[in-house]
């Protein structure tokens, strides 16, 4: 006799557990349980995370001034933002290794002179028949070697930025030994000085970056926990001036010191910033993402649920959420303006699970 109601009860109960997407609540319930709803809004652009960033030249810079030898940077000849011609001097460095090369050059020059003198004398003597042809050949060889040595050193020095005039000054003893100059490989704007005066520069270091007319980039260090917000192609903006940037590159290695990743973004338009300038940049949620406060979210199994208000009560909706700071972002499944439960979610989950009386 009691079987039928029991079966019905069970059926309803099972249905309720599985097919449930609606919880019935009336005004009385809402009042009594102290439930609060709030409309869902797009996570506003201002609602982003602010981070400090540094303006940098584009990573694939068109030209670089590189110092082949290690040395100490003595002085700069151009300032950032200054246009230089090809071959213009950018910086002068002093280096022990360069000093040796220059000295070698001087020695090689002296040796060449000696070898030439020897050759001239020997040639006269051969013509006079005093010495053999073999001896003439020897001095010709010596002369050739000396010339080659000199030429080699010459080219090294030229790569080091010495000009003909410098070489002649060097031979004349009027050159400042041990210094060499880094010159601009092409006409461009000096965008970035990598070292300051007095700083030690290692071999093969980029001393200066030069820019064509490319747009500047911004380097930001983003705390690794925010990295899900970073999609290549995503957008950022500067806090002060509101310029927008597009995220171009992100580093997947995490820097040990700051526990952050480096992100490079390119300015979308021409901006008058110079490399090295500091800018506060705002990291935005994706466009159209909705901001969901943490108190509105309950978890069941692997699902995240929110309770969306409808005329009969609330609808249980599963969303896929991205954590952002103390809240979450939802990119789909919910529209702006829909009301979600922001206070009392634990109680509504209890109703969902069947705790308490049903009314």
């Amino acid at each position: 006799m009691t079987k039928l109601p029991v079966i019905l009860f069970l059926t309803l109960g099972t249905l309720r557990a599985f097919g449930q997407s609606q919880i019935f609540l009336d005004e009385g319930d809402i009042q009594l349980l102290d439930l609060e709803f709030a409309p869902v809004a797009v996570a506003e652009r201002q609602l982003g995370v602010s981070l400090p960033g540094v303006v940098v030249s584009p990573p694939d810079a068109s030209s670089l001034g590189i110092s082949l030898y290690p040395g100490v940077l003595e002085r700069w000849h151009a300032a950032p933002g200054e246009a230089v011609e090809a071959g213009a001097a950018l910086a002068t460095l002093r280096s022990v290794e360069v000093l040796e090369v220059q000295q070698d050059y001087q020695v090689a020059n002296t040796e060449l002179t000696l070898a030439r003198q020897q050759h001239d004398r020997d040639s006269q003597l051969f013509d006079a028949g005093i010495i053999s042809r073999r001896r003439l050949l020897e001095s010709e060889t010596t002369l050739g070697g000396a010339q080659a040595a000199l030429r080699s050193l010459e080219s090294q020095l030229m790569v080091l930025g010495l000009r003909q005039s410098d070489l002649q000054a060097l031979l004349a003893g009027e050159f400042d030994l041990g210094t060499f100059t880094v010159r601009a490989p092409a006409a461009a704007t000096l965008s970035h000085r990598a070292y300051v005066t007095g700083e030690h520069v290692p071999a093969n270091a980029v001393v200066a970056e030069l820019n064509g007319n490319d747009r500047p980039w911004l380097s930001v260090r983003v705390p690794a926990r925010l990295s899900p917000l970073l999609d290549v192609g995503g957008s950022l903006s500067t806090a002060a001036s509101g310029h927008t940037l597009t995220l171009r590159q992100r580093d997947f290695n995490i820097d040990v010191l700051s526990q952050s990743v480096e992100v490079l973004a390119e300015f979308d338009g021409q901006v008058s910033v110079v490399p090295g300038q500091l800018q506060t940049v705002v990291l935005h949620p994706r466009p159209g993402a909705m901001l969901i406060p943490a108190a509105a979210v309950v978890h069941e199994g692997v699902e995240s649920l929110v309770y969306v208000r409808n005329p009969n009560g609330v609808e249980i909706r599963a969303l896929s959420l991205i954590p952002m700071g103390d809240a979450y972002l939802a990119t789909s499944g919910i529209r702006a303006g829909e009301q979600i439960l922001v206070k009392g979610a634990a109680l509504v989950k209890g109703i969902q699970l069947g705790l308490g009386s049903d009314e």
Binding site: I7, L321, P323, G350, I351, L353, G354, L355
Partner: protein, 1024 residues
């Protein structure tokens, strides 16, 4: 044999008087020294083990801690039940021993076993045997309020000022502190600093633990004196901590302040206390020792509290909201009042029947003497005066005077029948004769009653513990009254009663005038009363199945507890808010509630390990006189209406002692507990929910609930051992580091005066999405290298059980329900049938029915066994007395007729057949037989004198009318106060009173009208 006793008592009256005086002296002394409590000690010999395992999930706790210990404990002899519950961070194992096992021996056995297995348990657990208390040990609770202090300071007060002071009170096992925040010295390492300086977690831990010591270095001799050297290195304040040096990766040391922020913090909370919808408060709970006298303990605590109240900061008040001694007072005063009322009634009736105040007083004199004798015996057996033992005394009042009534009545008759003018027999001789005449029937009658009660001593379990005191006090009182009636009372009567022939008093005369004609009619038409009697018997047989059967009426303790249960994954703050909401609603809508104090979660010791989603709401009620509702049941209805409006959490009603007793006996609360045994947690859960749904549909079911044992949210971190091993990181170090991250790691203690404040390492507060946070959590290695946790372990959010319960080594889930409006046994029958039809359990899964119901079954089984034995013993005694089978059977035939009245009375009043009612039936057996015995022996005597049989019964019955009426009415009226009592504890005695009074009515009537007929019919013509 008795004649000798009577003779001696009468001839040596002075010595008798002396003995009586001695009895009064010792008895009064015993009374004054008697410990007083509400309930007898009903706890079984039980040892509880509580182990805290911070951060471990229930499944881990079960497999790593609970199971190994259970296996170890299985070898202990004399054990009854092994139960355990594994919760988050807690394992609680309870071992019940057989009755009568010595508690100290039991504790020692358990202690030894645990020591054996301790090293095999995971590293950083703490705990052991719980304090030696009983579940009834929660005797006193109060909140500590002060507007100027915050929760942490109040908690500090309780932990370090109030608790130590109260623990010195004799009888206090411990003082439990709940609520508020526990102060800690907190060291929060900064990750970037750690990385930069190459400091890892272990370095910080070591620095803190090794730099916190005061030590003695020895002694130096200075001339003739000595100088004790003390190295003071203990931390005394925050700056001391900041200055501790920490080893860095570069082998230099830096002060702690470079690596961490040092401040005052608080321990991770496992519970909170709120009150009166005003937010959180701090509570203290006094736990009494096993066997302590509750009233003494409470008064000791109160006076100690008064002492320390002056030393507490200004504005502090200690507000008591539960005091066990009030219940005790109430229960004891209920019984005492009933006792006094009974005595007065008895006196009045005696006077009316005997027509002489002197005679009445003489007979009544047996009451105080027998009572004092009882107290003396109680004291020598170390029994306490409580609801049950004093209740036994009240029950016995009517029966106590029986023997002395019969004797005094006979004395008075004998003295009255001395015809004036004729030669007088010596006064003492008359008395002696009168006593001797009724001695044998009186003795056998009382012995029969005593024997009838003895089987009650064999009851087991809860009912045994409750009714043993009742039985013992009744037996003592009866023994005492018997001896006194044969000695002191006659001696006293010889002084107070004079031989004066006066007319029979008014009442007996009137009764006789009514009785005589009716008796004649009955003797003339014997079939008439016989058929009436037969009809009543048939009625009884018909009614019997209609009377509900239950275990024990619930005692109204005067306080109500509402238990809440929300979703298993709720956090403490939300739970606290929900409770606040409920408190507000209750205070607003139910004016009878004076104060509400709620406890959510667990306490520090772990004695009552509730989850964060479980709450006990204590309602302190106004005195019943001030209520607007008329009964407790109505009040509960009102509360239920309020609670039913809420949705999203489960609730149930209980009472303080009731809750603990059920928990203690069956491991769960509720009238009926259905235990489902099985292996798989999910299957157990699903089936339990099904069972709950089915049971809730049965008539009478109320507050049916299967605890939702799933849905607790866990973040499962599984270490990739290879990877971690490659990096030189072991699981334990990682675990320590993670614990330090989330909950805080205790690395030492700072002494603030007598207070011991924990020193903790705690990393940043993990906020936002937990899974995210953990994935990006950075673990530092020795040389300053860092790696996020997600590279070392897989991190997943899973749902899991809230707790895992086991009994006798098997997992189980439990469905609890209370029953209202019908009897327990009938309900269980229905439930059994429903489940048998509709429930389909997997193989290997089975049900066990427990709770109150289990008790009822056991009690019923025992009584069914024991009562026939009692009847056999009675038959034996009767045979020894009368030496005739026919006569024995005749007296025994009184019994069914006595039962008739009792059962009809039970049915008519709507009460159930419970253990007290059964005790009432047993008492009825004895009383019915007593009257039959007295009547029978008089008939026999008259027959011996040679009277004709009809005359024998006619004269005999008329002569014995007065004593029969006296014993019956006095016994009945002696129980009327119990029938009408309303204080706490009265519910338990009421069914007994109903049964006995009803039974007396029917048995007396039948004795007076049916017995003469049957005697005439069956005995009359036999040879003498």
């Amino acid at each position: 044999m008795f004649t000798q006793l009577i003779q001696t008592a009468l001839s040596q009256r002075l010595m008798t008087a002396l003995l009586a005086v001695l009895l009064v002296g010792f008895g009064t002394n015993a009374l004054l020294n008697l410990p007083i409590d509400a309930f007898p000690d009903i706890s079984p010999t039980q040892v509880k083990i509580i182990i805290k395992a911070p951060g471990m999930t229930p499944e881990e706790v079960e497999s790593l801690i609970t199971q190994p210990i259970e296996v170890e404990l299985l070898g202990i002899p004399d054990q009854a039940i092994l139960r355990s519950i594994s919760k988050y961070a807690l394992s609680s194992i309870t071992l019940d021993f057989d009755e009568g096992t010595d508690i100290y021996w039991a504790r020692q056995q358990v202690s030894e076993r645990i020591a054996n297995v301790w090293d095999d348990l995971p590293g950083d657990i703490s705990g052991g045997l719980a304090p030696m208390s009983t579940p009834l040990g929660d005797m006193f609770m109060f909140t500590v309020d002060n507007d100027e202090l915050d929760l942490e300071e109040k908690r500090f007060l309780v932990d370090w000022v109030i608790r130590p002071a109260l623990r010195t009170v004799p009888g206090v096992a411990d003082v439990n502190a709940l609520g508020g925040f526990v102060k800690t010295y907190q060291v929060k390492p900064r990750r970037d600093a750690m990385v930069r300086l190459g400091v890892d977690n272990d370095a910080i831990v070591m620095a803190l633990s090794e730099n916190n010591r005061n030590d003695g270095a020895g002694r130096l001799d200075q001339g003739e004196e000595a100088l004790l050297v003390r190295v003071s290195g203990a931390i005394e304040n925050l700056d001391d901590i900041r200055n501790i040096l920490v080893e860095t990766g570069n082998n230099i040391r830096v002060p702690m302040s470079e690596v961490a922020d040092v401040s005052i913090g608080a321990l991770e909370r496992y519970g909170s206390v709120t009150a009166d919808a005003e937010g959180e408060v701090v509570q203290a709970l006094v736990i009494g020792l096993r066997g302590a006298n509750a009233r003494e303990v409470v008064s000791g605590v109160r006076s100690k509290m008064a002492d320390i109240e002056q030393t507490l900061p200004a504005g502090t008040s200690l507000n008591i909201f539960y005091d066990r001694s009030i219940l005790i007072e109430g229960a004891v005063s209920t019984v005492t009042r009933a006792l006094l009322e009974a005595v007065v009634l008895v006196l009045v009736l005696l006077g009316v029947f005997l027509g002489s105040l002197r005679a009445a007083l003489t007979a009544a004199f047996v009451l105080p003497l027998a009572a004092l004798f009882t107290f003396l015996m109680m004291n020598s057996l170390d029994m306490s005066a409580n609801l049950m033992s004093l209740g036994g005394l009240v029950i016995a009042i009517g029966m106590l005077v029986d023997s002395s009534i019969v004797i005094i009545e006979n004395i008075v008759s004998a003295l009255a029948s001395q015809s004036p003018g004729k030669k007088r027999l010596p006064h003492l001789h008359i008395i002696y004769r009168a006593v001797k005449e009724v001695a044998v029937p009186v003795v056998s009658g009382i012995v029969i009653i005593i024997i009838v009660f003895l089987p009650l001593l064999t009851l087991e379990g809860l009912e045994g513990k409750l009714f043993r005191p009742v039985t013992l006090t009744i037996v003592f009182a009866l023994l005492g009254s018997l001896v006194l009636s044969l000695t002191v009372i006659p001696a006293l009567a010889s002084y107070t009663l004079k031989a004066d022939a006066h007319r029979e008093p008014w009442l007996p005369r009137q009764l006789l005038n009514i009785y005589r004609p009716v008796l004649n009619v009955a003797l003339a038409r014997p079939l008439l009363p016989a058929s009436i009697a037969g009809g009543l018997l048939v009625l009884t047989i018909v009614i019997f199945p209609l009377v509900g059967k239950t275990f024990m009426p619930t005692m109204d303790e005067g306080d109500i507890i509402i238990q809440l249960e929300s979703i298993p994954s709720v956090n403490l703050d939300t739970s606290t808010n929900i409770v606040n909401m409920v408190e507000e609603a209750i205070l607003e809508e139910v004016p009878e509630v004076v104060r509400v104090v709620s406890r959510t979660g667990s306490d520090e010791i772990g004695m009552d390990p509730m989850g964060l989603n479980e709450t006990d709401i204590f309602l302190q009620l106004k005195p019943p006189e001030e209520w607007t509702v008329s009964s407790k049941a109505e009040l509960e209805e009102r509360l239920r209406t309020v609670m039913n409006r809420f949705r999203g959490f489960n609730y149930g009603f209980t009472q303080p002692i009731d809750m603990r007793v059920s928990e203690m006996l069956t491991g769960s609360r509720g009238d009926v507990a259905i235990k489902l045994f099985g292996d798989d947690l999910d299957a157990l859960n699903a089936n339990a929910q099904q069972i709950a749904a089915m049971v809730a549909g049965i008539e009478g079911a109320i507050d049916t609930v299967a605890t939702l044992n799933e849905g607790a949210q866990y973040l499962q971190i599984e270490l990739d051992r290879m990877r971690a091993g490659q990096l030189g990181l072991d699981a334990e170090a990682l675990q320590q580091r993670l614990r330090a991250e989330v909950e805080g790691l205790r690395v030492g203690t700072v002494l603030e005066g007598t207070a011991r404040v924990p020193l903790m390492i705690l990393y940043d507060d993990v906020s936002g999405d937990g899974e995210e946070q953990m994935s990006n959590n950075f673990i530092t290695f020795g040389e300053g290298s860092v790696m996020p946790l997600s590279e070392l372990a897989s991190i997943n959010r899973v749902e899991g059980p809230v707790s895992i319960s086991r009994e006798s080594g098997r997992r189980f889930a439990v469905v609890r329900t209370n029953v209202e409006g019908r009897d327990l046994v009938g309900f269980v029958e229905d439930a059994r049938n429903t489940l048998a039809e509709s429930l389909d359990l997997p193989e290997g899964y089975f049900l066990e029915w427990g709770g109150e119901f289990e008790n009822q079954q056991r009690a019923a089984a025992r009584l069914t066994l024991v009562v026939p034995i009692a009847l056999l013993l009675i038959a034996l005694i009767l045979f020894l007395t009368f030496r005739s089978i026919v006569q024995t059977l005749l007296v025994l035939s009184n019994i069914p007729f006595a039962m008739t009245g009792g059962l009809i009375a039970l049915w008519a009043t709507g009460e159930f057949l419970s253990v007290p009612a059964s005790v009432g039936f047993i008492a009825l057996l004895g009383i019915a037989v007593l009257n039959g015995v007295v009547l029978m022996s008089h008939f026999n005597h008259l027959r011996d004198k040679g009277l004709e049989i009809t005359e024998v019964v006619r004269h005999g019955a008329q002569r014995r009318l007065r004593p029969v009426m006296m014993t019956a009415t006095i016994c009945a009226f002696g129980l009327v106060p119990l029938l009408l009592a309303t204080g706490p504890g009265s519910e338990i005695q009421k069914p007994l009173a109903i049964v006995v009074i009803g039974g007396l009515i029917s048995s007396t009537l039948l004795t007076l009208f049916l017995f003469p007929i049957t005697y005439r019919r069956f005995v009359g013509n036999l040879p003498a």
